[in-house]
């Protein structure tokens, strides 16, 4: 996984349990309901498929993804490759896994520069209230645990007290924060931060940006400017553009991913707030349509509540039969 080359090896093995715990609600919701749907029904009939459709839709997979997955299943049923309703879970699981796996190939391409320039600039972006600042705190914690030198850049100069919020995360993780006054030009803050990072031999500059709706073209242009500024200061920067997505987000998530990718070239997604009952199905829809890899999953408010995303693990957890 490219994430290992960039952010070091994944945390200790408890990760799997924690991920499992985090998506237990998802699993319960999706897997159990599929089980429930197939249980007691030997023959696969239209009613059953309809029920499965509702299940996938209810997990925020979206109409297109759900239709695609179910069409494939239907074809196999029609060709009489499947006679037992119980096989459906495995088939759907396989289809979903395929969708998530298809992103992996692409994910490898962007980390490939031979002479790595330092500092590596990581731009963290997303719409309002998805959890950018919190995720940055967790990311910084993870990198520091991996003996990397990290600098935070408070480029959200717009929202009230955003800088203070990042500073508190800086204190919690022992990371320095480069900031200017509220209302300052975010690109200027970024330029400053990269300058200090160079002077101090910093490995990673993590840039907190203001939340912005992807429909506001002026704010998207501001983001593009930041990206250009980073590129001028360090060749190849921003090396990572991480789009933070709220797990409760519905189909609008696709539009967000599209627009942010168009404007600053998103390199990966972090799915935040997966510790609720939100199903995270939007991940699959995004992976299917945009082939964007999902890097991490946020599962709580503490600094170590960020775990690497692994498609197989994720799907496995979804479909594990023992509840909770």
């Amino acid at each position: 996984m490219p994430i290992q080359t960039l952010f070091g090896p994944p945390p200790p093995p408890t990760v799997f349990e924690r991920l499992q715990e985090a998506v237990s609600s998802t699993r319960q919701n999706l897997a159990e309901r599929i089980e429930e749907a197939v249980h007691g029904q030997k023959e696969i009939d239209a009613g059953l498929l309809e029920h499965l459709e509702a299940t996938l839709l209810g997990a925020d997979l979206g109409v297109a993804t759900t239709t695609e997955v179910l069409d494939k299943v239907r074809q196999q049923v029609d060709r009489r490759q499947v006679s037992d309703a119980g096989q459906l879970t495995g088939m759907i699981k396989q289809e979903l896994l395929e969708i998530l796996k298809r992103t992996d190939a692409r994910a490898g391409t962007q980390a490939g520069s031979l002479c790595r320039e330092f500092p590596q600039v990581v731009l963290v972006i997303g719409v309002n209230g998805v959890g950018k600042t919190t995720t940055i705190g967790k990311l910084a914690h993870q990198l520091i645990s991996d003996n990397k030198r990290v600098l935070l850049c408070a480029a959200d100069t717009f929202r009230a007290a955003a800088i203070e919020q990042l500073e508190i995360w800086g204190q919690r993780t022992g990371t320095e924060v480069i900031k200017q006054k509220p209302g300052a030009d975010p690109s200027a803050v970024l330029f400053d931060a990269i300058g200090s990072a160079k002077a101090r031999g910093i490995d990673y500059v993590i840039v907190d940006t203001a939340g912005r709706l992807h429909t506001k073209s002026n704010l998207m242009a501001e983001l593009e400017k930041m990206s250009r500024t980073a590129g001028r200061a360090v060749p190849g920067a921003p090396h990572e553009v991480l789009l933070i997505m709220d797990a409760t987000t519905g189909q609008n998530g696709l539009q967000q991913a599209r627009r942010f990718t168009e404007s600053v070239g998103v390199t990966g997604i972090i799915l935040a707030k997966l510790d609720g009952t939100a199903k995270g199905g939007v991940v699959i829809a995004i992976a299917r349509e945009l082939k964007l890899p999902i890097r991490y999953v946020g599962i709580g408010e503490q600094k170590d509540d960020l775990v690497p995303f692994d498609p197989e693990q994720f799907i496995d957890s979804l479909f594990r039969e023992t509840p909770r």
């Binding site: 609600s25 509702a54 839709l57 209810g58 997990a59 925020d60 979206g62 109409v63 719409v127 309002n128 209230g129 998805v130 959890g131 600042t133 717009f158 929202r159 009230a160 007290a161 955003a162 203070e164 919020q165 500073e167 508190i168 995360w169 509220p182 709706l213 992807h214 429909t215 073209s217 002026n218 709220d246 409760t248 987000t249 519905g250 189909q251 609008n252 998530g253 539009q255 967000q256 707030k273 510790d275 609720g276 009952t277 939100a278 199903k279 199905g281 939007v282 408010e301």
Partner: protein, 448 residues
């Protein structure tokens, strides 16, 4: 807000429009498309199912009215059904008989409670109240500081409480006393974002409610929320007894199906929508208007309301007279652009217009806010004579205007061309065409 759903339904009914009558077959197609639209708009699948069942039942059971085409009839049924689901008329805030009225804001992390708290305080003060703000979010870093900064920005009093660690219940209690002592009649309480399955945090919320006896417990929800909206809203409602909902971030392109979902599980009215990052971007929620928008009838009422607030009526009349009498100069053009900018972001204004008839093309117009500033600068760089008689603007004048406004000659040319076209269009319209067209336009029921 809802643009995409609007487009879809319009396409559905355009297909239906050719039909002479409503058959089981063509209604099936329409229903399937409506279903997909609603699902893509993030309306919960169970809610969609109920809606579709009811719409189908009504469509098929009803006799075809002679006054309506089948398509219109389906539109009407869908319209009525959505309005009914959203609760009919606009909901008002409730106030306690004994001040201070306490308004408790609750919701998931990142739904926009703190910003909404500031907007609500401003809205209240504009409507003759004397609000006091307090944040009892002692968990998220700098959350209380955030509300303080907002309070300063909108010039509203805030109860900051003692510095250092604090207890939410104690903070709330002190704030309430402060409100009573200083004669503030509404206390807006911003709380920490929490997950509906976090038993401990939900317990804290229940205690807050018990202690404060709020007149309103408002659930602040993100318009971008997906299927999960029903679960979180349901649990918040079960634990707290919500009295209303505020839907935030409606200025994006989220289709806002969460509005229907949340309403359907809580049964509580949507009271406000957040429509921008500025602190006055909070509007009362009008089910009629939102549904009108869903169905492509446009939110004309909101537009009129806004226009009345910002546009000088005399000036507008004068402008109209000039428009129709072909004396519409570049200077007037600029004034009008200014007026328009006062109304708010352009995409917002365009979104409120009906997507039918003469307004249809307008939807594709993608005017940038910055472009307007440019246009203004160009016009400002003209002499009064040039503004009144655009024909005199020759090549050398164009170069001068471009230099003066920091634009290129091409930009100046483009503006002049657009202006000339607009004038030509106005001439056509003023020839009775406009009047005929406008007379034909059916007003949405909310307007009648």
């Amino acid at each position: 807000m809802f643009e995409n759903l609007t487009e879809k339904l319009q396409r559905v009914f355009k297909n239906l429009r050719g039909e002479g009558k409503l058959t089981e077959e063509n209604i099936q197609q329409a229903l399937r498309d409506i279903r997909i639209s609603l699902l893509e708009a993030d309306v919960n699948f169970k809610v969609v199912k109920q809606l579709i069942d009811r719409i189908k039942e009504k469509s098929l059971g009803q006799e075809v009215l002679t006054s309506l085409t089948p398509a219109q009839q389906v539109v009407k049924i869908v319209h009525d059904e959505l309005v009914e689901l959203l609760g009919g008329g606009a909901a008002q805030l409730r106030f306690a008989s004994q001040p201070p009225t306490v308004i408790l804001l609750a919701g998931l992390q990142g739904s926009g409670k703190t910003t909404t708290g500031g907007k609500l305080a401003r809205w209240l003060s504009r409507h003759g109240h004397r609000p006091l703000l307090v944040s009892v979010d002692v968990y998220r870093p700098a959350a209380r500081r955030q509300l303080t900064v907002i309070a300063e920005a909108i010039d509203m009093p805030i109860f900051e409480g003692p510095a250092g660690p604090a207890d939410p219940l104690e903070l709330a209690r002190l704030a309430r006393r402060e409100a009573a002592n200083t004669g503030r009649d509404v206390l807006v309480v911003d709380t920490a974002g929490r997950l509906h399955i976090d038993d401990e945090m939900m317990g804290e919320m229940q205690q807050l409610k018990q202690q404060l006896e709020p007149a309103e417990v408002l659930f602040v929800a993100d318009a971008m929320t997906g299927q999960d909206a029903v679960k979180s809203a349901d649990e918040f409602h079960r634990r707290l007894g919500l009295t209303g909902v505020i839907l935030t971030k409606m200025d994006g392109d989220a289709r806002g199906g969460a509005a229907l979902s949340i309403r359907s599980v809580t049964g509580q009215p949507l009271k406000f929508v957040g429509v921008g990052e500025k602190y006055d971007a909070l509007e009362l929620f009008h089910p009629q208007r939102v549904v009108s928008r869903i169905l492509g009838m446009g939110d004309v009422l909101s537009l009129i309301e806004k226009a009345q607030e910002t546009v000088d009526l005399k000036q507008a009349e004068e402008m109209q007279r000039k428009l129709l009498s072909d004396r519409f100069s570049l200077g007037d053009f600029r004034d009008q652009l200014r007026q328009m900018r006062k109304l708010g972001p352009l995409d917002q204004i365009l979104g409120m217009l009906p997507q039918v008839g003469p307004f249809r093309q307008l939807q594709q117009v993608k005017l940038e806010e910055k472009e307007l500033v440019r246009i203004e600068a160009i016009v400002d760089s003209m002499t009064p004579r040039e503004r009144n008689h655009y024909q005199v603007i020759n090549g050398s004048r164009r170069r001068r205007i471009a230099r003066g406004s920091g634009a290129t000659v091409q930009e100046v040319n483009r503006l002049l061309k657009q202006y000339a076209e607009a004038r030509r269009m106005m001439r056509t319209l003023s020839g009775g065409f406009m009047a005929k067209r406008m007379g034909k336009l059916k007003l949405p029921s909310a307007l009648r």
